[in-house]
Symmetry: C2
Subunit: 198 residues, 2 copies
C-alpha cells in the first residue's frame, strides 16, 4: 500500500470531517472509489466551489454568497428586533414558526471554555457592533437551553445590557402537548416560577 499516496490523501482528507475517524474515512474512500465515483466528483467540486462562493453575511454573520444575506436584505423586516441564534439551522427553525419578523445574528457556535471556544470565536465584537447600531432596540437571545447555550446567553446578556439594550430570552416552560407526568422536574419548576396571568 506504500505507493498509494492519492488514496491515503483521500482518507486523510475525509478524516477532517467532524465525527469521522480512520475506519470510517477508509470505508468512505473505498465506497466512493468503487461504487460512487460520481459522488466523489460532486464532493470535490462542491468543496472547491463552496469555498470560493460562501462567506459570512456582513450583517448577521450567517453563510451567504452575497455581501448581505437574503434575510438582512429583506425590507419588510422589523429592524428594531435582533434575534441571536447559535447556527443557521436554529435560525431556520425560528423562521418556520412564522412568529418572528425581526432580524438575526448567527453566532456560528456557543461559548464552551472547556473546548477552548471563547468570546472571540462566537463573533462577539461583531454582535456588539451590530446590536449597538442605534436601530436595534431589543435583542432576543435564542441560544439553546443546554449548559453552553445558557452560559452563552448569560454572557451576551451581561455584555449588551451594560450598553443600554433591552435583552430578552425565549420563554422556558412545559412544551406544547407536554403531559406533566412525563416532563422533567426542572422544566416544571421553571414553568412554575415563570407562570403568567391568564
Amino acid at each position: 500500500m506504500k505507493s498509494l499516496s492519492s488514496l491515503e490523501q483521500m482518507i486523510e482528507a475525509l478524516r477532517r470531517l467532524p465525527g469521522v475517524g480512520p475506519k470510517s474515512a477508509t470505508r468512505m474512500a473505498y465506497h466512493l472509489l468503487q461504487h460512487d465515483r460520481e459522488g466523489a466528483q460532486m464532493i470535490g467540486q462542491a468543496m472547491i466551489n463552496g469555498l470560493n462562493m460562501i462567506h459570512n453575511c456582513g450583517s448577521c454573520n450567517t453563510f451567504t454568497e452575497n455581501t448581505l444575506c437574503d434575510t438582512c436584505q429583506d425590507s419588510e423586516r422589523d429592524t428594531s428586533l435582533l434575534c441571536v441564534v447559535e447556527s443557521p439551522s436554529d435560525q431556520l427553525m425560528i423562521e418556520q414558526t412564522m412568529t418572528y419578523k425581526g432580524l438575526y445574528f448567527v453566532l456560528m457556535g456557543r461559548l464552551s471554555p472547556l473546548d477552548g471556544v471563547g468570546p472571540q470565536d462566537i463573533h462577539l465584537d461583531k454582535l456588539i457592533r451590530r446590536a449597538t447600531d442605534g436601530v436595534v432596540k431589543e435583542v432576543v437571545l435564542a441560544t439553546n437551553f443546554n449548559n453552553e447555550g445558557e452560559a452563552t446567553a448569560h454572557y451576551i446578556s451581561e455584555t449588551l445590557k451594560v450598553r443600554g439594550l433591552h435583552v430578552s430570552r425565549l420563554a422556558r416552560g412545559v412544551p406544547v402537548g407536554g403531559e406533566l407526568e412525563y416532563v422533567d422536574p426542572g422544566t416544571i419548576a421553571r414553568a412554575m416560577l415563570d407562570r403568567r396571568n391568564t
Copy 2:
C-alpha cells in the same frame, strides 16, 4: 436560505458519503465553512486528484495508481497461490500476519442478493480469468465468516472447482487466546468437526 445554492450543493454532495444523512451533512458543511476551510480544501483536492489517479489493479483488482499494484509487481511472491479477499483492508490484515507469500484478488465487495450485489459486482469474470491463467494452482478463500462472506466463498468455490482449481478456505476454530467458556457454541461445534491430529 433560497439563494445558498453553493451551500446546498455542499450538503447534498456530503450526503453521498456512506452513513451520512441530511443532519450530519449539514453539520459537516457548517463545520468546514466555519472552522476548517483548509480541511474543505484538502477534501476537494484529494477527491479530484484521487479520481484522476486511482483505479483498479489490472491483475488483483485492488486500488493502485499504476497498471499493476506493488504486490502484483513483487517478483518474490509465490505466483501459484491466489488469496481472495473482500477488501484492501482485509488484504492488509493478512499481510500483517506474515504467513502468506502468494498473490491476492480483491473482490471489492461480497455477494449480497438482498442489496442487489450479484456476481458481476464482485468482478467474478476477472477473478475467473485471473485464477485460470495456468500459473495459479490453489485459490485460498479469505472472505469474512459472516453470512454474506460464507455465501460468497461458497459461490466462488463452486465456480472455480469446476474449472479444475484447488480451492481452500481459511480455517475456522477457537480464536487464539480464546477460553471455551466464552466462545459461542457454533464456533466450538465447527472446531470439533474440523479437529486435527497433533
